[in-house]
């Protein structure tokens, strides 16, 4: 039940983020860490956006980029970690405590949105 509610919340956050992305390139996005998974597992943001991970689990997790660009401390329940993506590309990351948990952030050039307007 809680998971469904959370997923709805994620969807709303994402919808807002996507809507906002149309208006301003540096939209911020949240990723839930829930049931030993990153939700959503893959997100797309514009360059300059800040992504915030929040741990909803009873177990500690980390957010560690596979190429060591960023790494959070161990996040206890309710703890958050943010990283701002400035360069387009795809950034794979995982939980260094439970490495079967993986995710990715795709970063698109912010300029594309501006010229499209």
């Amino acid at each position: 039940m809680g998971a469904i509610k959370r997923n709805v919340r994620v969807a709303v956050v994402l919808a807002v983020a996507i809507f906002a992305a149309g208006a301003a390139p540096a939209a911020n996005t949240e990723v839930q860490i829930d049931q030993f998974a990153f939700v959503p597992q893959r997100i797309t943001v514009k360059a300059g956006a800040t992504v915030t991970w929040i741990n909803e689990d009873d177990a500690p997790h980390t957010v560690a980029s596979s190429d060591k660009l960023f790494k959070s401390k161990a996040l206890d329940t309710g703890d958050k970690f943010s990283f701002t993506f400035t360069t387009p590309g795809t950034y794979a990351y995982f939980c260094s405590v439970h490495p079967h948990m993986t995710g990715a952030v795709a970063v698109e050039a912010a300029a594309a949105t501006d010229t499209a307007r």
Binding site: D57, D58, P60, A64, D76, A92, F94, P99, H100
Partner: protein, 310 residues
């Protein structure tokens, strides 16, 4: 030596060897694998020559979520249970996740309780004990005389014990990891030993593939087990999955222990391996300690799991 000849061991023989511990041991067989829920307070036929040691695991000191708001309290229950054992074990093995968040205060609390057993304790770290980047907190306390992130050997009553670390330098998308340096050290250590030496190898994450989708396995365990192949008796003791599981493969017996803190779901029985909430009056029946006895001349060690409360 006779037990080291390569005839293999059939299931009946294994069951015979493992049920020697005597009257009152309640056996269940799940998935063709024998499991025992041992009994405390009843006299057991332990011969003086036998080596008895205990395994405890996954104390998660500091954990205070609904699955068990008082993990320190249930560790204390386990310690009290150990104090009342009819046969004083020679030592204790803790297979990791001593703490929940690697905090100094959690390590201190765990030490304060576990030291009340007045037993030597041989630790290996769980992933919850190495949350600080350089594994300093764990190593400062338990790392004396160990190599790398904390692996080591010791011997007792002719049994060779190997403590392995499979919770550091984990790779994206992977499972538990021993790493090249530790494997080389292991192979080097085993090289000169005779095949009749009973081996007990212990590590936090299971050394066999219990359920890779939840990370319950060790990527490079096959190489470690390969170097143990020619030994007549190999027992692998693990924690991490907070439930009893056992597998017999050739001359190797794999066994995972209950947690002293909270249970986790059976593989695939829940959306995730997170802490499982059970009714409060049932909690202590799914937490416990593991009693291991080695008798010379027997190929298998007798492993008896004892819940904190039945």
């Amino acid at each position: 030596m006779a037990s080291d000849h390569g005839e293999g061991v059939n299931r009946r023989k294994v069951l015979e060897c493992m049920t020697w511990a005597g009257t009152g041991v309640l056996w269940t067989v799940a998935g063709g694998v024998p499991r025992s829920m041992g009994i405390i307070g009843e006299a057991r036929a332990v011969e003086p020559s036998g080596l008895t040691f205990l395994q405890i695991s996954d104390s998660h000191v500091g954990f205070d979520k609904p699955a068990n708001p008082n993990a320190l309290g249930t560790l204390e229950d386990a310690v009290n249970k150990i104090k009342t054992l009819p046969v004083k074990p020679s030592f204790l093995i803790h297979t990791g996740d001593i703490t929940h968040l690697s905090k100094p205060s959690e390590f201190d609390d765990a030490d304060r309780i576990i030291s009340q057993t007045r037993l030597d304790v041989h630790y290996v770290p769980g992933e919850h004990d190495v949350l600080d980047e350089d594994v300093k907190l764990y190593r400062d306390r338990y790392g004396r005389g160990t190599k790398g992130a904390g692996w080591y050997i010791f011997d007792a009553n002719g049994v060779h014990f190997i403590g392995l670390v499979n919770v550091v330098n984990l790779k994206a998308g992977g499972l538990g990891n021993l790493g090249h340096e530790q494997l080389e050290w292991l192979e080097d250590d085993l090289k000169g030993r005779t095949a009749s030496t009973p081996i007990v190898v212990f590590a936090h994450i299971p050394l066999w593939s219990v359920y890779p989708a939840w990370g319950w396995g060790t990527d490079d365990a096959a190489r470690a087990l390969g170097s143990l192949k020619h030994f007549g008796s190999v027992t692998a003791l693990n924690g991490h999955i907070h439930q009893i599981m056992q597998k017999v493969e050739g001359n190797a017996t794999f066994h995972t222990a209950m947690s002293t803190a909270f249970p986790q779901p059976a593989p695939g029985a829940a959306p995730s391996p997170g802490p499982m909430k059970v009714a409060e009056d049932k909690l202590r029946s799914v937490l416990g300690i593991t009693d291991v006895t080695f008798k010379r001349g027997q190929q298998r060690l007798a492993i008896i799991d004892q819940p904190l409360q039945r």
